[in-house]
Point group: C2
Chain length 200, copies 2
Amino acid sequence: MTVVALDLEGVLVPEIWISFAEKTGLEELKRTTRDEPDYRKLMNYRIDILKRENLKLKDIQETIASIRPLEGAKEFLDELRQSAQVVILSDTFEEFAKPLMKQLGWPTIFCNSLSVSADGTIEDIRMRQEEGKLRAVEAFRSIGFYTFAAGDSYNDLKMIRKADAGCLFRAPENILDENPDLRIFERYDEFLSYIKENIK
Amino acid sequence: MTVVALDLEGVLVPEIWISFAEKTGLEELKRTTRDEPDYRKLMNYRIDILKRENLKLKDIQETIASIRPLEGAKEFLDELRQSAQVVILSDTFEEFAKPLMKQLGWPTIFCNSLSVSADGTIEDIRMRQEEGKLRAVEAFRSIGFYTFAAGDSYNDLKMIRKADAGCLFRAPENILDENPDLRIFERYDEFLSYIKENIK
């Protein structure tokens, strides 16, 4: 039996922070895990900007409410869930993920959570553990699963390399250049075929 | 964040083997994990009966195709999936589970598989690992999750006791008598309330 571990943003839904940057006009918030390998550093940078601009959790949630899954993502995921157990591994936060999971038919997601003050200010991130994606793939392997992992960012590389099989999906140039041995797909139909051929 | 680990048969769907026993009239097949604590022994007993009666995998799958989730199970699960990550932990086999998962909206399930010969005879079971339910709960805890587990049978007791919180659902008398300290629920609404009160 196989567990397929999928990244969320960029693979199934748009990048939440880029959508929020576009809505607020804050170009600085366009920096993502595709640019910055250190997630905690990236989140501290984002939280500082939110505080400076007096933006609260509800402001981000309002943007998320208007985000739709990427075109074809729901159909891809629906079909994949019939062939394997799928767990979305994301560094996002449960406070952000819920409306997106609803639109995707409530797939299982392992992510993090936020520390929010009484007035709705995001104060800090509460990581479930460090290297959460990698540790989850290791845990699936430890209980007898064959694993396949896919994503598009720096924070996906360790899980992809730890899994029994894996690939990139719509990754940017810098990730591709640094990982020429990994297969990459741009279309859901080809991505799905490759996964199906490489699971047990 | 919480992972809720749920048993399948007796909790969300009827006991597959009891349904099959009723369809075939083979009373011997009514023995389940609620009666026999040793799962491998139970499966060897079942496989011997199938071979003696010349019953194949497709005969069992035909019965499963007619099984519906327990009344209220889908609604219970739909609501629970909005509050926590749910993983069904079952000792059943992927060859049996798929049509049931489809009816339940494709929740994530960790189970086992079968070894089937070319003529469709079930030859053996392929356990993902020994103590699969217990090991999965341990794995969720090891990656930073708070865990809640529930079931109705002998093979659920270790995961329930290893989880941070847990309870029984519609368990038979013998399980209750031997585990007087565990809470038990008979109705989905009360079961759901108890889970929601005991997750993080």
